[in-house]
């Protein structure tokens, strides 16, 4: 059973009538645990819409999303929120760290609604995992470098130990060297067995991915699994 499975997903904005805009047309996809997938396409192709649906953040007009066999959009809003917390970690475009919270508090953000002990310890572990020193945990984002902010964003995404990571243009605002560090981290997370889905428009960001899905005009144009070797990808296996 795939970790993420979408069947016949369509999304129409503005109603079914003549004024409606179809962002996705009957898309089918399966993503396994440990896969590092890049979703690429030009502006308006539907990749952000696909990400929002995969992330249980936007109800499709048709079709279904199964996460670990659970029909996500058959759940109530409350249960969908629980599912996002348990299964999904997000790295947002521009990182979107909360500016008035420290790095540690940003990582604890998904835990703030839980009545559990040990929240701070979990957050510190996540920061350590991404290579952020505990001392820097007390700084607000403005006091951190771009790379450090990117790491904090990833720490926030993994603090609940989710099996799926969604990244929306995670290195768009970073320089190439810093961006490389972030991409390497995402590769490591995939190697740990998580499914990592990254939306990007930059081909250079896809050097380490296992699979590239190209979308155009709301349809999957290409779905290529890449054979990775130690030095470079040798071939693409097209599955679409």
């Amino acid at each position: 059973m795939a970790l993420l499975e979408i069947n016949g997903i369509s999304k129409v904005y503005g109603g079914q009538g003549p004024g409606g805009v179809t962002a996705l047309h009957a898309v089918d996809l399966c993503i396994e645990a440990g896969e590092y997938v890049a979703v690429m396409g030009p502006s308006g192709s539907g990749k952000t819409t696909l990400l929002s649906i995969l992330g249980a953040m936007s109800t499709p007009s048709a079709g279904s999303l199964l996460i670990d066999g659970i029909d996500v959009y058959g759940l109530s809003q409350e249960r969908q929120a629980d599912l996002r917390r348990e299964y999904l970690g997000f790295v947002f475009q521009g990182l979107e760290l909360v500016p008035y919270l420290t790095a540690l508090e940003n990582v604890m953000l998904p835990l703030a609604i839980l009545k559990e002990k040990g929240k701070q310890e979990r957050a510190l572990e996540a920061l350590e995992r991404v290579g952020i020193d505990e001392r820097k945990g007390g700084r607000v984002p403005a006091e951190l470098s771009g790379g450090e902010q990117g790491r904090v964003a990833i720490a926030r995404a993994i603090v609940n130990d989710p099996p799926i990571i969604m990244a929306d243009e995670p290195v768009g605002s970073l320089d190439s060297a810093t961006g490389r560090q972030i991409l390497d981290l995402l590769r490591e997370l995939a190697d740990e067995g998580r499914a990592v889905v990254m939306v990007t428009h930059n081909p250079e960001s896809t050097e380490d991915v296992d699979r590239i899905i190209r979308i155009r005009d709301g349809r999957v144009e290409e779905d290529a699994r890449l054979l990775r070797v130690e030095t470079q990808p040798m071939a693409a296996v097209h599955t679409h």
Binding site: M57, Q77, Q93, Y100, I113
Partner: protein, 384 residues
């Protein structure tokens, strides 16, 4: 970290909006406290002044035929010649009433007096207390201080053609005119006023009175006193002089209604300011709220964040608003001395002011909280 930390952190970051909301709430609370305190102070001052404008209750013997009367009391009675009096025991019963309800008890004895072949009505009472209770009394000269002194009403003075310091013969005895009561426009103009013991000596009527004037401490004490005295003095008639009381009560009510109407208007405007500012803040935070929802926050968590911020600002507004309102109420008598206001502060105003701050702040934030809770998590992916 908790939701409260996020709420307070947001307030620290958005100080401008927090200040605007706090100012709106503070204005409403301050206006409410100011008006409420001024109403209490004004009511207290008017009651104090009321006690210097004469009696508001009259105690008389049971009514009978009247041939000569003062303030509803019998002077010469029915064909049987029987004149009803109030007793000393009844006077003492009235004097025993609580001093926080009764500020004046004035026993009055009336008697026809012959002066130089003419008949006038003599009134014996405690003249010093009477002058204190009747602010309209203006005495040329002074009140009688000796047993052979009298105070004349203006019409009596004019009819007799005497001046202050001159002697007259009253009921066969010599008296000196110590003073003249300037025109009151009432029955006092036609009276010869003496201290009670002097008239008792002249008439031989001791321990008996034609009426007793009672002054209540406050306008709202009159009706309860009327009921109590009616019960405790079954052999007497007790009447409330409602004219001045009603005027005072109506004035109080009109001022209170006006003040509260202005306050209600301020509270409504403040509510709109709070709601609008909160809505603007929610709109600015759409992406941030989308992220909260994306990481698993439910709608009630998001609503709680907004309401916690409102509660925190309401607490600040309560403290500052009450202080400002009380300070304004304290300063008003200093600045408007013509009003003769005395500052009176009821501790319950602290409770009412605090309740108003929280009710207004939270109610005005309900719609913004609902809008925030309804924001979709997909806003987290919104391109800027």
């Amino acid at each position: 970290m908790t939701l409260r930390d996020i709420a307070f952190g947001n307030l620290r970051r958005r100080k401008g909006k927090a200040l605007l909301i706090t100012m709106g709430l503070t204005t409403a609370v301050a206006a409410f406290v100011l008006v409420l305190t001024l109403i209490l102070s004004l009511r207290h001052s008017m009651d104090e002044q009321l006690s210097s404008y004469g009696a508001n209750l009259l105690v008389t013997p049971p009514a009978s035929d009247v041939t000569l009367s003062y303030g509803g009391a019998t002077i010469e009675g029915a064909a049987s010649g029987q004149v009803a009096y109030l007793s000393d025991a009844q006077l003492q019963a009235i004097r025993a009433l609580p001093p926080d309800q009764v500020v004046g008890v004035l026993p009055i004895l009336l008697a026809p007096l012959e002066v130089e072949g003419r008949r006038f009505l003599g009134l014996g009472t405690e003249l010093a207390q009477a002058e204190e209770r009747k602010a309209w009394w203006k005495v040329e000269g002074r009140l009688p201080q000796k047993d052979n002194e009298v105070l004349l009403g203006l019409n009596v003075r004019n009819e007799l053609g005497v001046e202050t310091g001159e002697s007259i013969r009253v009921a066969g005895q010599d008296f000196v005119v110590s003073g003249v009561l300037w025109e009151t426009g009432d029955q006092e103009d036609n009276l010869i006023l003496l201290d009670l013991p002097v008239l008792q000596e002249l008439t031989g009527i001791r321990g008996r009175y034609h009426l007793i004037e009672v002054t209540a401490a406050r306008s709202d004490a009159v009706e309860p006193l009327l009921a109590q005295m009616t019960r405790e003095l079954p052999e007497a008639e007790v009447t409330a002089l409602r004219k001045s009381i009603e005027f005072t009560n109506q004035s109080n009510k009109a001022l209170a209604d006006f003040g509260l109407a202005i306050t209600a208007l301020i509270v409504i405007v403040a509510g709109f300011v709070v709601a609008t500012t909160m809505l603007m803040a929610v709109k600015e935070r759409q992406k941030e709220i989308g992220i909260f929802r994306a990481v698993g926050y439910k709608q009630r968590h998001v609503a709680s964040l907004v309401l916690m911020e409102a509660a925190a600002l309401s607490a600040v507004a309560a403290g500052v608003g009450i202080a400002l309102g009380a300070a304004g109420a304290w300063a008003t008598p200093q600045l408007a001395r013509g009003l003769s206001l005395v500052f009176v502060f009821d501790p319950l105003v602290l409770v009412y002011g605090t309740l108003l701050a929280f009710i207004l702040g939270l109610t005005a934030s309900l719609y913004p909280a609902w809008r925030a809770a309804g924001l979709e998590p997909s806003l987290a992916l919104k391109r800027i």
